[in-house]
């Protein structure tokens, strides 16, 4: 039997001893796209950080287990976790542009993150990066590779951060509001590129967003969070069109939908 890509069992997460996420259960299959929705403060980012082992000292998983391809990430050592980050699990977050190193060029940083995990030549990394840049509407990709982050706009750096995660073709990609700060036209390109990653390389994606449109477009399943609890979880079609929960319906009704005819 195939191991699920990600499995969370009875997960409880606390900050300063105060529970923030309660008895959380979910299972993602290989290549699955999961949408996570909920109001701000409901614990979406906390959940993703826990799976990536990035809660730091402020927070802790106090109950339950988190498995990535059968490995309990709560049990494995930091070194091994670091090796997994990148090729096995990648992450895009809302301000990933600001996480770039300010004193090295984009090209150097991309190469460095790749050679940690793969035997690969600089030219090959540049080539891959330029292809991805063009696809998400960052033309003049040669110049971008030679640029320092401060020479690019916030939206451009955000897309560099997205490429940084995508270029590794991770098996599991966490995307925490990856496009909230981008223009709608750019957002659409980024979302299509994430879909292509799944279709070509079988990347499973857990995407946190407050854009229900994005969720219905790309997600196979949806998890709805409210105050740290998973209030609804199921196939996207069922949750969006036929929700069983009042909170989910409230969330969906609050979103204006465009009428094209």
């Amino acid at each position: 039997m195939q191991q699920p890509l990600l499995e969370m069992q009875h997960v409880e997460i606390c900050y300063d001893g105060k529970p923030t996420v309660f008895d959380f259960n979910l299972k993602m299959e290989l290549g699955e796209i999961l949408g996570i929705v909920g109001e701000s403060g409901s614990g979406k980012s906390t959940l993703i950080k826990a799976a990536m082992g990035l809660l730091g000292t402020a927070g802790a998983v106090t109950r339950g287990d988190i498995y990535v391809k059968g490995k309990n990430v709560l049990d494995i050592q930091n070194d091994e976790l670091r090796q997994m980050r990148g090729p096995e699990m990648g992450m895009i977050f809302q301000n990933c542009g600001s996480a770039l190193c300010s004193i090295r060029t984009i090209g150097d940083q991309l190469y460095e993150s790749m050679e940690q995990h793969h035997a690969i030549k600089r030219a090959a990394v540049d080539q891959l990066a330029m292809q991805l840049f063009e696809k998400i509407n960052l033309p003049d990709s040669e110049r971008i590779l030679k640029s320092y982050p401060f020479e690019l706009s916030g939206g451009m750096n955000q897309r560099v951060g997205i490429v940084m995660a995508m270029i590794q073709k991770p098996e599991l990609l966490f995307a925490d509001e990856p496009t909230s700060a981008l223009d709608v036209t750019v957002q659409a390109q980024v979302i299509r590129e994430m879909m292509a990653l799944r279709n070509e390389f079988g990347t499973g994606i857990a995407i946190v967003t407050h854009n229900i449109g994005v969720v219905s477009y790309m997600a196979d399943k949806v998890a709805v969070m409210h105050k740290g609890h998973l209030v609804e979880y199921g196939k996207t079609r069922d949750v969006i069109n036929n929700s069983q929960e009042a909170y989910t319906r409230k969330l969906i009704q609050a979103v204006p939908r465009i009428r094209k005819r």
Binding site: E39, S40, G41, G155, D183, V184, T185, Q187, A188, I191, H210, N211, I212, G213, V214, S216, Y217, M218, K250, L251, Q253, A254, V255, P256, R257, I258, R259, K260, R261
Partner: protein, 230 residues
């Protein structure tokens, strides 16, 4: 040049949408109307009166009539002043007595769904959605004839966005307020606006009712904007 030779009018009581990619000049347009930015050429008229070169004294009267709400509510409040005082400030500047201004501030907070205790809080002591509601309270306290919302809800949760839009519509109905809604969410524009302008590269490229524009876009740029809505 951020904005290049644009012409449009907003009719009394109307809600006009202004859409376009970031950097196309929407905020600059809003800032010119409120005179936070100077126009190099052309004229701007409020209620038929030219305000393009209005002096300080005139501007005070104009600022009572035009109010603006920004995307980042927290940045638009002085962090060291309680929300209630910030709301009262412009009323007092307009010559209102302190106790009257205070009562009016509490009234406006209540209309925006905030209990009067919020008047005593500092900006960092409230959530983003509450802070945005306080900035709407501040804007309507002056009973403006024109309210400009510059991406006022894009950083907020969808449920809070819905509440705020409901408030704005309510003020339009009850006080005949005119509204300029700058936003990049076409669905939202379709829901609340009577008319919409599409801006690209500092120019207005298309104008019509939201349904006309969305169902029959003429410009390539507008089509791209519509196709991007997932």
């Amino acid at each position: 040049m951020a904005v290049d030779g644009i012409s449009f009018q907003i009719n009394k009581g109307e809600c006009l949408g202004l859409v376009g990619e970031s950097g196309c000049g929407k905020s600059t347009t809003a800032k010119m109307i409120t005179r936070l930015e100077a126009a190099d050429e052309g004229g701007i008229f409020l209620n038929g009166k030219e305000i393009t070169q209005a002096g300080n004294k005139e501007l005070r009267a104009i600022y009572r009539d035009i109010q603006m709400i920004f995307q980042m509510p927290v940045d638009s409040f002085n962090p060291r002043i309680r929300l209630g005082e910030s709301i009262m400030e412009s009323m007092i500047n307009q010559g209102m007595k302190r106790h009257r201004a205070k009562a009016r501030a509490q009234e406006c907070l209540a209309v925006c769904g905030l209990p009067k205790e919020f008047a005593d809080r500092y900006p960092h002591q409230v959530s983003g959605g509450e802070c945005q509601r306080a900035s709407i309270a501040r804007a309507i306290a002056n009973q403006p004839s024109l309210l400009i919302c510059d991406e006022a809800t894009s950083a907020l949760d969808v449920t809070i966005q819905a509440q705020i839009l409901k408030l704005i519509r309510q003020f339009q109905n009850e006080m005949g307020m005119t509204c300029l809604l700058i936003c990049h969410d076409l669905a939202l524009v379709q829901e609340v606006c009577d008319r919409v302008l599409v801006m690209s590269n500092g120019r207005i490229v298309e104008e019509g009712t939201p349904d006309e524009i969305i169902m029959n876009p003429r410009e390539e740029y507008t089509k791209r904007l519509i196709d991007s809505v997932l």
